[in-house]
């Protein structure tokens, strides 16, 4: 029974990793940009939500709702002012710029909030659990997983059933020809990064409510997100969820065997998938 419990906990943990990864997957899928500051942006958003809770006295949910448009604006600006200038045939400039952004964000957060670890207070939800008979699951991990599903369904709906999504896909296929359709690729990219930052805010909310965070933890979140995206197959959102679940399950089983093996087991699972399916589990046909 303990193994079933471990499996369920792992799947639910995968929801958190999928949330970390969904924004990364979105941005990569549309503009082939690997944002190395993604993890730090999640941490930044967690502090933003925390400030809403501590300074304005909002509930974490309302604070996240307030943070979402702010993060959207930040993503829009970041893309318009910085990233659009370095996007091109050479993939190195955007990598360097986002790496620099990552360093700057970490140090900025350290300056503003110190190295003390913090947590977004979630009230009674923190310890709440549901007895499902065979297993007992925490309400918070369940909410996280449900949110990941909602985010992925919403992003897929946006992608495949709206005019904006059509423009996203067309620009991703061929930005020059998209321009001939009257679409400004740079505006599409700004919109995509803005939306990715809204997803980042949701990820940040759960990150901050479920565990302690401090300015230095961004890069590790990036690694989990990255692994989830690559396991899933670049650009596939359901694949990203599967990737998150695989890492989550590997981590909880690793931890069940020996607590020191938690992180390592996740990375090993990633390597095994890469050995067996180098293009990920659900690669896009057009790549």
């Amino acid at each position: 029974m303990i193994w079933l419990d471990t499996l369920v906990q792992g799947i639910l943990l995968g929801g958190l990793y999928a949330l970390f990864a969904a924004g990364l997957s979105l941005v990569f899928g549309i503009m082939r940009l690997v944002n190395l500051a993604h993890g730090d942006l999640i941490v930044f958003a967690a502090y933003l939500v925390l400030m809403g809770v501590t300074l304005l006295g909002l509930s974490p949910w309302i604070a996240a709702l307030v943070a979402m448009p702010l993060m959207f604006g930040l993503g829009w600006l970041l893309q318009t002012v910085v990233l659009n200038r370095v996007l091109g045939k050479d993939i190195l400039p955007p990598l360097l710029v986002t790496f620099g952004l990552s360093v700057a964000l970490q140090n900025g957060l350290l300056e503003a909030f110190s190295a003390d670890s913090r947590r977004i207070p979630a009230g009674s939800l923190e310890g709440a659990s549901l007895d499902l008979g065979l297993v007992t699951v925490g309400v918070m991990p369940l909410l996280t997983f449900a949110s990941a599903i909602v985010v992925i369904v919403a992003l897929n709906g946006l992608f495949y059933h709206t005019a904006l999504g059509r423009a996203f896909r067309a620009t991703s296929d061929d930005a020059v020809t998209a321009g001939l359709m009257g679409i400004e690729p740079k505006r599409i990219f700004a919109m995509a990064t803005g939306i990715a930052m809204v997803v980042v805010t949701i990820a940040a909310l759960y990150l901050g409510m479920r565990s302690n965070f401090d300015p230095s933890i961004g890069p590790a979140r990036l690694i989990y997100a990255f692994e989830a995206v690559i396991i899933g197959g670049l650009g596939s959102l359901w694949g990203t969820l599967a990737g998150g679940v695989i890492i989550g399950v590997a981590q909880t089983f690793g931890a069940a065997v020996n607590p020191e093996w938690q992180i390592l087991a996740g990375h090993i699972a990633f390597l095994v998938v890469m050995l067996l399916k180098p293009r990920g589990l659900f690669p896009r046909a057009v790549d």
Binding site: A163, R166, A167, R169, A170, S172, D173, D174, V176, T177, A178, G179, L180, M181, G182, I183, E184, V286
Partner: protein, 234 residues
């Protein structure tokens, strides 16, 4: 004039591809631009549509300088292009490929999804397929339909017969008079001189980045074209 170029130049890095090209297209007119491979025809299309940017006054739309505008801004003014090689979006279905053509510029006019399906009935049957799963000729129909969806004033068709079977080319060219009847001016870039002259009012011939002949399609002689096309007398 609907569209004019004045001393239009274009470079690919150090290589100059256009040397002061002057062409003009009147509203409702059909103009053919012919020339051998590498004559600069497609570069001219890319320069007009803002894929290659220029000095503002090198391209005029109804007298206004548009040479420095982005391709999206040029398109919003009613200049749509059927690009060489069709360039359909592989992630989009046939219908989505059509819809995206009219997504940004929604001008009133004869063209909408229904009208495109009437022009090219096969596309209606294939509307759910990925655009790139179609035959070359059907893809060309999608590319033309996609450009028409914005109800352009000017339709630029870059090498629409390239790589297609003669029977398919005939079908595609049969659509051009209907497109003209809808009010759009058309520029046809072609290597096939016979096809181009059959549909055009006027013809420009290009060679090595320059216009070497400007003539009415009905008046031009085989000798004139040969000289302009190859740079030597027949």
């Amino acid at each position: 004039m609907l569209l004019q170029t004045h001393g239009l130049t274009a470079n690919y890095g150090q290589f100059r591809a256009l040397f002061g090209v002057d062409i003009a297209v009147a509203a409702g007119e059909c103009v053919a631009i012919i020339g051998a491979n590498g004559a600069g025809k497609s570069t001219l299309m890319r320069a007009i549509t803002g894929v290659i940017r220029n000095e503002p006054a090198m391209v005029l739309h109804r007298g206004e300088p548009i040479g420095a505008l982005s391709s999206a801004e040029v398109m919003k003014r009613g200049i749509a292009m059927v690009p060489e090689g069709r360039r359909l979006f592989p992630s989009l279905s046939v219908e989505e490929n059509l819809l995206i053509g009219g997504q940004v510029r929604k001008a009133p006019g004869p063209w909408n999804l229904e009208a495109i399906y009437e022009l090219f009935p096969i596309l209606r049957e294939r509307r759910r397929n990925p655009g790139t799963a179609l035959s070359g000729g059907q893809q060309q129909m999608v590319a033309i339909g996609r450009a028409l969806m914005s109800n352009p004033e000017l339709l630029l068709c870059d090498e629409i017969s390239l790589g297609l079977a003669p029977v398919v080319i005939r079908d595609i060219y049969a659509a051009l008079p209907k497109i003209r009847a809808g009010g759009a001016a058309i520029v046809v870039v072609e290597q096939d001189i016979g096809k181009a002259l059959a549909v055009a009012d006027r013809v420009y011939c290009m060679m090595e980045g320059r216009v070497t002949l400007t003539a009415k399609a009905a008046d031009v002689s085989r000798q004139q074209i040969h000289t302009a096309y190859f740079g030597e007398a027949a």
